[in-house]
Symmetry: C2
Subunit: 313 residues, 2 copies
């Protein structure tokens, strides 16, 4: 993976950066942003980290997560350069209307938009964290343990800890480097997979009880009422979409999360060659081949039927 | 990891090998043996693969698994050299009393015995599959896709697919090589983790609904009635005991499986330093530090109380 020369010169030349990632940030969004911020600070730059939403408690083991702020003002942005990371439009980060001195995009999500003075978009990268790894190396900085924990977590989240179809030889080589830089794979796995609250576990049990299998599609859902009953929230549903893939004959898992009255966020997870990004984009959303999503405004029953009709599995 | 020179000369000089692994073979035992056999055959050697037990159906995706036999006779062994793999004593493979022309041990389990004309034992290796990888390279053979699938599976099983404490930089580097040789990490994960039947999934959901948390102990159970309702059996409960460890504050997961009227098999799984083998042995059972079990004759309520009293957590 070749880091564009103009991106390197840009990062060396500017002084003040607003690093911004997408709403409802995941491990790749948070970890990539933090590692990049640490590297730029080591170059003597000033960085600000912004995300619309709070960092989920689940990710509070990530070194320096508390550096993220969710307040931003146009007064401070226009002297700074924007680095939009793990997303590629201001809309995805909900920072439309703010103006910056200049802007860079670093992302592994496909896009047809051409936002940013410099765009570095590598859809083949398993995670934005991999791109940031190469970028930091190219900036001539050694990866610290803190950076490594952030980058390893970014890659772990986006590859299902080396289990998804996007797990490349490069992902493994970078992981080897990050372990050499001080990451403990068992510690990260413990934090990612063995830190559920009792409430979250209760929500999970309740979600599994909603399972409906329609052909090769496993459907599960979470309602606002289920959050209330268990004392949980949307942040507690991470990984829920993937779980039903454990069933042999299931090719796509569709997880419906109630946003409000007749409004659902649908997360799709597929096995092998089934491209759910195409399905999601037909329904107004997007994502990757094996992990995508969309929002649908209708009751649950109709939402399910719409999806099944589009999937045709 | 340095492969002993005398092992390389030995493998180049002999002509006929009996490759033998331990009883109840796991992925590392099977995969390492198969990859080594393939490499030696490419050198023009004759190899036989022996294991006392049938290869579990679960591992029937491993290329050439059907080359294993579970019959062996002293008539054929004494002209051949023994390669004992993923174990280090004839007892562990139940081949005591057979005589071989010469013998080699390749293993990553610690031992105090000194069986074998040549011993190559590397306790720091995450899996015997890693040792076989280096050995094949050292023999000057390129890793084929079939070898790679066997070796990757060996490493995946022994490291929990890169999640356990034994996941080293070397494990990642070898994984990168094996993916380059044609392994699909998603395919292997699919075979290892995504082959549950719908019935098994239904039993799992039902089991999670039985969760009761008592201090740091998570209790779940399966009854005969639950098997009947879901069309499952005791064989479908594999991995159920471990799952509740996902909960942060849980230190021990206790899974009760109904054997008959007032008779329960209890499986204990602990985190970190908690030794459940001691608890199990106090209750007439046994096992390892983090995974043990016992049988108790009483109703479920009393059985739980007996366990909790013994655990004192």
């Amino acid at each position: 993976m070749k880091v564009p020369d103009k991106l390197i010169s840009f990062l060396k030349s500017e002084e003040k950066y607003f690093i911004v990632t997408h709403i409802n940030p995941d491990g790749d969004a948070i970890g990539s942003s933090l590692a990049l911020s640490m590297a730029l600070e080591m170059l003597g730059k000033e960085t600000f980290l912004y995300v619309r939403d709070p960092i989920p408690e689940f990710y509070h083991y990530l070194p320096s997560y508390e550096m993220f702020t969710n307040s931003i003002s146009s007064l401070v942005t226009h002297h700074s350069s924007l680095i939009l990371i793990d997303c590629n439009t201001p809309k995805r980060a909900e920072i439309e209307g703010l103006s910056f001195k200049s802007s860079v995009v670093i992302d592994h999500h496909e896009t047809e938009e051409a936002f940013g003075d410099i765009q570095w978009i590598v859809p083949e990268a398993s995670a934005t964290g991999m791109m940031v790894f190469y970028l930091i190396k190219e900036l001539g900085i050694s990866i610290t343990r803190e950076m490594a924990i952030n980058l390893y977590s970014a890659i772990a989240i986006d590859t299902g800890t080396f289990r998804y179809g996007n797990t490349t030889p490069e992902a493994f080589k970078i992981a080897a480097n990050l372990v050499e830089a001080g990451v403990s794979p068992a510690y990260i796995s413990n934090r990612l997979y063995e830190t559920w609250s009792k409430e979250r576990f209760a929500l999970f049990s309740m979600t599994l009880n909603t399972l409906e299998i329609r052909g090769a599609v496993a459907i599960t859902y979470v309602t606002q009422e289920m959050y209330q009953k268990t004392g949980t929230g949307p942040g507690d549903t991470e990984n829920f979409p993937s779980f039903p893939r454990i069933i042999k004959d299931v090719k796509v898992s569709a997880f419906f999360r109630e946003l409000g009255v007749d409004s659902w966020k649908v997360s799709l997870r597929s096995k092998g060659d089934i491209n759910v990004a195409l399905i999601a984009s037909q329904l107004g959303g997007g994502g990757h081949k094996n992990a995508a999503g969309f929002v649908i405004k209708s009751d649950l029953g109709s939402a399910k039927e719409t999806l099944l009709k589009t999937l045709q599995l």
